[in-house]
């Protein structure tokens, strides 16, 4: 019964606080209160403490008030005889455990800076990923937003055997869930079991080994808390909304494997605060009445072969797993999995051994093709043998009464992740620069070339059934055949590119809204035009158009742009009307092409942010992959805090990376000529397109070289000198302010 759970959890919280307080005293003595502390590369401090209490921890002494708060919240132990009510106090104990352990993990970063690896990947000698930085949060958060990841499972402990661990992980991956792992049972850890079995772990495969101790569970809570702040637009300190947001929108749950200690109970109670139920494999007491969680709070003694299904039900989650007839596991969680070195059975494209791979989706007449006609022309994997390489040509023909040629590139682009979703198959690139790898394990399980066709056929039907009726896939593995396909495909690409290149906002009467992320960011709406993609970078005007055709009541709705109010700034009557309604009156109008006057609002998912650099009379743009300092004095994460959550801040705007090279990029302020600073990597990535756009706007064909980056300086005065020396056009343009 619950009394046992509450008693144990409260005891656990007492023990945790005592331990952490001791550590704190020790750290204060060795390092002093002014020592700076924090998790790496985040604008959210210690995220759960910041999100729930609104308290920023930047130095050791900042932890003092949180310990005071813990003391006030920490309830007395539950009495055996005539006990006082314990549910509320037990939940408080869970919160206390969270705050204390978050500080503990933070002190670990101070004491052992290399305890955790940085970034998304584990290394050979360190599998502990620690706190997710803001780059990971935003990148992965988008998957939570668009539903590619419906939630996460926080696993404590270890399975009784490695096989069971692998099975549970696989089932969770197949349901597209992230798996956050912490803690140990009898000296064994779930993440170590996976490594032992040769399973690839890391953010890429959604198997996230946070840390060796149970306290690493706070990284899961920190991720959840930041989701509410970043995507839900909830103010730090608004604890109630942060937690309810998670209950209603983040479909997470905790799974305990092994003996549930007092401190595990305390962490379990932490989860319940977020509305995340706890599912245990041991016969601990259950809490079945609903209320704090959507359904049961604690469900126990669940057999390992049922535990994933049961967990998902208890959380109230439905995962639509489309059935794909392949002999390997299939799901979004395998997208990030890599096939490397000795494990490669086959490789094609990417210039490996002089091979190329081309994929081409094209329309066909309804009666010209048969549905589910999957053909392999040329040798299959068996014939090619181990460690083989060859060029590949993949031709996909699609027919349907509703199908339009405009949808071809959209469907074609899907091939990348669709093929990647199969366990043991890796895909990089697109079009004629694709690159395939197939692992030995996948080959041994029976994976052959035709399965690539099966995948494309099944997923095209399940995702685009509304606009297509027939799909034919032909895979060519002989060099001469592949070359023929390459030629045809390139001709087709050229036509497409010309169409997209030539597409301008002026020519289209209909733009599209995008509310795909409303399940996560309820107050934000994107308006997508041909020259301004959605600010997450994932949805172009064509994508939205196709999406509307596929699901007319879906997240992308047409907006008749109506009368032009301001041509230069990009303001239209119909769009204003739409934005006014969608924002429920909080945004009256907006300018699509301006950074200074009524710029567009942002959710939390933008790829890049532009900010004014007043002294340089220009702007800087930074993308979310750049973790360093920018000339604005803020890192990306801090800037994101300024423009996110539906706020309109003149001088700052969030957008996709590609918007930078659009003809409409801050046209109101003078266009791309205003761009004075970019992170080096982004500059390299966009270089050719920047120059092309510059030429269109009457600037130098080497304009990209005039743009400053972090290797030169992040100090605005220094940048100004550099720009003046180089003769950057922004210096002599009209004053921005």
């Amino acid at each position: 019964m619950s009394k046992i759970i509450a008693s144990a959890g409260i005891r656990g919280a007492h023990a945790i606080v005592e331990r952490v307080r001791k550590k704190y005293t020790e750290m204060m003595d060795t390092h002093g209160g002014k020592t700076e502390v924090g998790f790496p590369n985040t604008g959210y401090y210690l995220p759960s403490i910041y999100g729930l209490l609104g308290h920023k921890i930047e130095t050791l002494e900042d932890m003092g008030p949180v310990f005071d708060r813990c003391r006030m919240l920490l309830p007395p132990l539950v009495k055996e005889h005539v006990h006082l009510p314990y549910l509320g106090p037990a939940l408080d104990a869970g919160a206390v455990a969270l705050f204390a352990q978050e500080m503990e993990e933070c002190m670990r970063y101070l004491e052992f800076p290399d305890f955790y690896v940085r970034g998304e990947d584990v290394t050979d000698d360190n599998i502990w990923l620690g706190a997710a930085d803001d780059v990971i949060l935003r990148k992965r958060g988008v998957e939570f937003v668009d539903g590619t990841a419906p939630g996460f499972a926080a696993i404590l402990g270890a399975a009784p055997t490695t096989e069971i661990a692998v099975q549970i992980a696989l089932e969770l991956q197949q349901k597209n869930l992230y798996v956050f792992m912490a803690g140990e049972h009898n000296g064994v850890r779930f993440s170590e079991q996976l490594v032992e079995a040769g399973v690839e772990i890391g953010w890429g495969t959604r198997l996230v080994s946070f840390g060796p101790d149970v306290s690493a569970a706070v990284f899961a809570a920190g991720f959840a808390t930041r989701a509410a702040l970043t995507f839900g637009g909830i103010e730090p300190g608004d604890y109630r909304r942060v937690l309810i947001y998670n209950k209603d929108r983040v479909f997470a749950f905790a799974m305990t494997l092994g003996h549930v200690t007092d401190q595990w109970y305390a962490n379990g109670l932490m989860c319940v605060n977020y509305g995340f139920p706890v599912i245990a494999d041991t016969p601990i007491p259950q809490i079945l009445p609903t209320g704090v969680c959507t359904y049961e709070h604690v469900v126990s003694n669940v057999p390992h072969d049922e535990i994933v299904q049961r967990s998902v039900e208890v959380r109230g989650l439905k995962v639509n797993v489309s059935k794909v007839e392949v002999p390997v596991a299939y799901g979004a969680a395998f997208e990030g999995e890599r096939v490397r070195g000795p494990d490669i059975y086959f490789e094609g494209g990417g210039g490996r051994g002089g091979t190329f791979a081309v994929e081409w989706t094209t329309s066909a007449e309804m009666d010209a093709i048969e549905d589910h006609d999957i053909q392999l022309i040329g040798p299959d994997l068996d014939e090619l043998g181990e460690n083989s390489k060859c060029s590949l040509g993949i031709k996909v023909e699609v027919a349907g009464r509703e199908f339009q040629a405009d949808f071809e590139p959209i469907l074609e682009r899907q091939i990348h992740h669709l093929v990647n979703f199969a366990q043991g198959s890796m895909h990089i690139g697109q079009r004629d620069i694709a690159w395939f790898r197939i692992s030995k394990t996948a080959y041994e399980k029976g994976f052959r070339f035709k399965h690539i066709g099966e995948i494309i056929w099944a997923k095209y039907h399940s995702e685009f059934g509304a606009i297509l009726d027939k799909v034919k896939v032909t895979i060519f593995t002989k060099e001469e055949d592949a070359k023929k396909i390459l030629k045809l495909a390139r001709a087709s690409y050229a036509v497409r590119d010309a169409r997209v290149e030539g597409m301008v906002d002026e020519d289209e009467e209909t733009y599209y809204s995008c509310t795909l992320c409303q399940s996560f960011a309820p107050s934000h709406v994107c308006v997508v035009t041909p020259e301004r993609t959605g600010l997450c970078g994932a949805y172009s005007w064509l994508d939205c158009k196709a999406s509307f055709e596929i699901t007319p009541t879906g997240p992308n709705q047409p907006i008749e742009k109506g009368r032009v109010i301001d041509e230069k700034r990009g303001q239209w009557e119909g769009v204003n009307e739409f934005v006014r309604q969608a924002s429920r009156g909080t945004v009256e109008l907006y300018n699509a092409y301006s950074i200074m006057e009524e710029p567009m609002t942002s959710c939390g998912c933008f790829e890049a942010i532009s900010a004014i650099m007043p002294m340089c009379n220009g702007i800087m743009t930074v993308d979310r992959d750049y973790g360093g300092m920018t000339p604005s004095g803020m890192k990306f994460t801090t800037l994101a805090g300024t423009v996110g959550g539906g706020a309109v801040t003149p001088g700052f705007v969030g957008h996709s990376k590609l918007y930078v090279v659009s003809g409409k990029f801050i046209r109101a302020e003078g266009g791309i000529g205003r761009l004075v600073w970019l992170p080096k990597n982004l500059k390299e990535e966009l270089k050719d397109r920047i120059n092309a756009q510059a030429v269109k706007q009457g600037l130098s064909e080497n304009f990209a070289e005039l743009i400053c980056d972090e290797t030169v300086s992040t100090d605005e005065m220094e940048i100004l000198e550099w720009l003046t020396e180089k003769g950057h056009p922004a210096i002599t343009m009209d004053p921005m302010m």
Binding site: V82, L87, P89, L91, N273, P289
Partner: protein, 651 residues
Amino acid sequence: MNEKMKSGDPVTAQLIGQACEESVELCWDRLEQQSPQCGFGNLGVCCRICAMGPCQTDPYGNGPQRGVCGADSDTIAARNFIRMIAAGAAAHSDHGRAVAETFIEVAEGKAPGYSIQDEQKLLALAMDFEVEIGDRAINDIALEVGKLALAQWGQQEGELVMCQRAPLKRQQLWREQGIMPRGIDREIVEIMHRTHMGVDQEYHHLIDHGSRAALGDGWGGSMLATELQDILFGTPVPVVSKVNLGFLEEDQVNIILHGHEPLLSEMIVAVSMTDEMKEYAASKGATGGINLGGMCCTANEILMRHGIPVAGDFLQQEVAMVTGLVEAMVVDIQCIMQSLPQVAKHYHTKILTTSRIARMPDAQHIEFHEDRALESAKEIVKVACDNYQNRQKDAKKTVFDTIDLVAGFSHETINYLLGGSFRASYRPLNDNIINGKIRGIAGVVGCNNAKVPHDLYHIEMVKELVKNDVIVLQTGCSAIACAKEGLMDPVKGLEFAGPGLREVCETVGIPPVLHMGSCVDNSRILMAAAAVVKEGGLGDDISDLPAAGAAPEWMSEKAISIGHYFVASGVYTVFGVSFPTLGAKKLTEYLFDGIAEKVGGKWDFEPDPVKAAQLMIAHIDEKRKALGIDKKKERVLMDMEMRRAEADIEA
């Protein structure tokens, strides 16, 4: 009548027997002397309003049907009925007024000994009264709030501020029906006017105004009393304590605090804990110090806030002295039997009256003044200590039972308990009502009545309710009765609960029966009901809730006022013992049925407590059906599209 018929409480039954042996006259003896009691009066059709009477109408139709002035049975009974409301509302509200006056003195710094204990609650009330908070000093805010609160009694037009706490639909209904109270006192005075000879003589019209005055009690005088008391003395949080006369100790100065207002009892609690008083008690031979126990609603006030043991309920006031161990019984107002000094004459107990407005022959009067509260309290405690030496030498402890209980369930505390500091809400309660683990909510409240077995009807009714998964909220003497049965013990109490209710109670760690305080604290039940409505999923008015109220052993006019403000707030309310309109057929039909069309709630009468509980359960089931929660709901598994659709609805 044997002792067991008189009381369902073994301790009381034993002491009744002992009193009989010692020839001490108790209320049951006087009831016997009074029997048979007047049938006309009992049925509500005796009119003593003018000097042409007294007139009685014949409820059986053979005798006269009108009084001298022509008033018919329905008019006579309706006038009597709403005069009971007036008296009850006056009692609660005058209690509230005294609190408000003290509150202002505290804010002005003129009442040393008191201070603001719950600033958060003060700020919440300040917002109700639209008092500016800013960075003002807490006493400034308190003074303005206190003055505005006090003005609610004398307000002549508009609406009572606290009525805004009712669900919006309910407020609208009150306005449409013309029963939204304008001022607390005004509606009471208007009852006295309307029921004067030859004024309002249409029973629906009379009852409507009764509703208005009763609402002024529940959502006005009583609620303000509770609010201001919580701000002054602290909002109750769960406490462990014990109940029954076994708490009396031989080596201690035993003081029973009896009555209703916490203004004095709070001070006595504070004073009796001081070393000075402990030493004073010891100097008089009481080596164990001072032992306080509460009785009636004073018991509930000091139990809820300090965990002071409960000596007993209304019908234990006389027998408490029969133990021979009570040095003093300190009384203030309401429900004090005039027999106390007479019983005391057989023992050494001193009966001390303390209220400016309430005195009795043969009692010692030590008037309590808020401006020198601590001195008054000290004086009283000293009188009790001095009296220790007068205890009869052979006085030994003869009753030993005390039962454990957990009390302190203010509506704020319930909110916290259901979700902790970060997720506090009524959601788990609503959810478990919707999913049927909890069938419904019952408020069982009210007095004891010597005409029915003491405590027994409360206990039988509540047991029947919890057995059927109905969670029970209690106040007043009803709460004390059930506490004595162990229903408020979080472990033992669950043995009485049905499986669904038990499961939820185990989850939260609460007994199936929640003690919410004194009789003015029935306003806490109103607040809880409003909170449940606001939480959502159970309709949009109190009358939609699967809930019912009852007072199976009622006796005072206050009970009628409480019952009527529950009815007018939309609650089905069942009374036991007898009902004061039964001689007037049309009026009774209206109260038991027709009134529901107007206010959603209605009265009922059923003397058998188990049958009454079943009526309440039937009503709860009817409401469940109307809400569409009478059938089990399938678990909803959400996919991404449903999640987006839900986001649209929220937006």
